[in-house]
């Protein structure tokens, strides 16, 4: 089926080719393995979830009753849902800005052509690569009332630390701190890559113009890495809305629901209360919320992103 014709003839030939000859039908064999799996486990479930969310029932008889939108209504009018949304927003606002700021700061420091760059990168990345379950156990231990963190704080400031994970005021900040610690290295690497892509000639030009450190950062570095910052901001927000493992391992949603985030609430609905319909409804609501937030984030900041 090789058409070795001249270029100007080729165009005419293609338009006259039959539907069957125009396409390479063996392509579908190449697509089949991936498509089969993606369709079955990533696409079909979306529609299946829609069906489940309008029925009520437990683990075995989930198609028992058609209940229309009452699952959605249940979730939206449920105070536990709103507690979990509040907790999640608290978590996101606590982790994302701090993480962006700290990781950019560290990345800038690392970008100053200092010795031991590789070593620092590896060390900062260690928490990222560690399983969140294992490291949550370690942090739970550290956060004990008479644990090492309070000893350290007491040693430095003389103030006895709280029983972090058992205190309704401090439990969420404790989880936030741990999450910032864990995710920092990942964003450091991404920012570092972004920083290294800034052409040095711009810095030279700034130097010639007599710009000081701060002015150079604000007028050269910051705009040039804005696509990276944009990416980090969106990705961090989306992923922090889905926080679960730390809460599961360290606090079990407590004390008194102060750390029950949305996904933890979903877990409770599905795995503990076996309310699959409601859990599905909740998942869709969460999806819509994340979608909306991402949309607005993009809308409000896209103008400020400077592409080269």
């Amino acid at each position: 089926m090789i058409d070795i014709k001249k270029n100007d003839e080729k165009k005419v030939v293609i338009s006259k080719k039959s539907f069957f000859k125009r396409y390479e039908w063996s392509a579908y064999f190449y697509l089949f393995p991936a498509l089969a799996i993606i369709l079955t486990f990533h696409v079909l479930p979306i529609f299946y979830a829609m069906v489940i969310s309008v029925h009520s029932g437990g683990m075995t008889n989930y198609f028992k009753n058609f209940v229309g939108l009452s699952n959605f209504e249940y979730v939206i009018t449920n105070k536990h849902f709103w507690y979990s949304m509040w907790n999640t927003v608290y978590y996101v606002l606590g982790t994302v800005p701090a993480q962006i700021f700290l990781s950019l700061f560290i990345a800038i420091l690392l970008n100053q052509k200092i010795k031991g760059l590789e070593m620092y990168r590896v060390i900062y990345f260690l928490p990222v690569i560690t399983s969140v379950n294992a490291i949550s156990i370690v942090w739970k231990y550290i956060y004990q009332k008479y644990g090492v963190l309070n000893s350290f704080v007491g040693f430095l400031t003389g103030i006895p630390g709280p029983d972090w994970l058992m205190d309704t005021t401090w439990a969420m900040p404790a989880i936030i701190i741990m999450s910032i610690w864990k995710g920092l290295g990942y964003n450091v690497i991404i920012f570092l890559a972004g920083l290294q892509n800034v052409p040095p000639s711009l810095y030279d030009a700034a130097k010639i113009d007599g710009a000081g450190r701060w002015k150079t950062f604000w007028n050269v570095t910051w705009p040039m890495i804005s696509p990276t910052t944009f990416f980090v901001m969106i990705m961090s927000t989306i992923s922090s809305f889905q926080v679960f493992a730390q809460v599961y391992m360290m606090t079990g949603g407590g004390p008194q629901e102060s750390t029950t985030v949305v996904i933890y609430y979903l877990y409770q609905l599905a795995y503990v209360e076996h309310k699959m319909g409601r859990a599905s409804a909740l998942a869709f609501i969460l999806f819509l919320i994340i979608f909306a937030i991402t949309y607005f984030q993009k809308k409000f900041t896209a103008k400020r992103v400077h592409y080269t």
């Binding site: 991936a34 799996i37 200092i114 060390i123 690569i129 370690v138 231990y141 690497i189 795995y271 999806f287």
Partner: protein, 278 residues
């Protein structure tokens, strides 16, 4: 304030190093604490003013191993992660090949549709997949843990982008020489793609290794537990046996850390790439 520009730069350089070192110590401190405590007695572990154990008690590890089948968990996790990675590399590269080198009906539409599905968070898929797996009879088997993650758009996307950057004449030249599609794929295309394949391999492997919510949902039989699920169970059953918990955590964390140390460059380059591709 400073005698010269050089003096100022030296001061800043030192300051930068101090800040970075403090940061690095903060990153490392929990790990060090974890490892030290894993060798302590129960009472040493409960006293946070004791930093070093009087004797390095390795028996904690043995006790933890007898209380829960961590070795089995490790084998399960390794088996699942490797299987998923290999299968994903195969399925993604084949599909990406089709998207980048072949014309077929519905190509653009399919690509956009797949892209759209990636926006849906994993949690939406949890409940329905539970039922799908149940109907397939795959709950509490390795099938549930491996098959759904044997393909994904992330790999297809990265590889397609990469394949497109290769010269178009490559295939034409090979074709003229009598090379078949399959031969081209295995003998020419794949060997050229080691960089993106490594990135996808690492992401898939690590993502799978550390995956928690999914295995939690689809298994409740201890023989199929991964390290993460097994560890979370152990956490619930051991309460404040911190010395044992630290031993278990160290054991769970170590394999991936070792792999990371051996393949640092690939890890870090892979991540830097995903950030800059956006």
């Amino acid at each position: 304030m400073f005698k010269s520009v050089k003096a100022e730069e030296k001061f800043l350089g030192t300051l930068i190093h101090i800040v970075l070192i403090i940061g690095a110590l903060t990153m490392l401190a929990p790990f060090i604490w974890m490892i030290l405590t894993s060798f302590k007695t129960k009472f040493e572990a409960l006293d946070s003013t004791i930093i070093f154990p009087a004797r390095f008690i390795y028996e904690n590890y043995i006790i933890a191993w007898t209380k829960a089948p961590f070795f089995k968990y490790l084998l399960n996790t390794v088996f699942i992660a490797i299987s998923c990675t290999i299968l994903q590399l195969i399925s993604s590269s084949l599909a990406a090949y089709a998207f980048s080198h072949m014309e077929f009906y519905g190509k653009e539409w399919l690509f956009s549709a797949l892209l759209a599905t990636m926006m849906v968070p994993q949690q939406v898929l949890l409940v329905p997949n539970y039922f799908i797996l149940k109907q397939l009879g795959w709950l509490n088997t390795f099938y549930a843990l491996i098959v759904p993650w044997s393909a994904g758009f992330f790999g297809i996307f990265l590889l397609r982008q990469f394949f497109i950057t290769l010269p178009k004449d490559l295939w034409d030249a090979a074709r003229i020489d009598g090379c078949s599609r399959i031969k081209f794929f295995f003998k020419i295309l794949l060997p050229l793609s080691t960089a993106p394949l490594t990135t996808i391999g690492i992401f898939t492997f690590v993502g799978n290794w550390n995956s928690f919510l999914w295995p939690l949902f689809v298994t409740n039989d201890q023989t199929y537990y991964t390290l993460q699920v097994g560890l979370s169970n152990f956490n619930q059953s051991e309460g404040t046996e911190w010395h044992l918990l630290m031993a278990a955590s160290t054991f769970c964390v170590l394999p991936l850390l070792i792999m990371f140390f051996l393949a640092q460059k690939q890890f870090i380059q892979g991540i830097a790439h995903t950030g800059s591709k956006e």
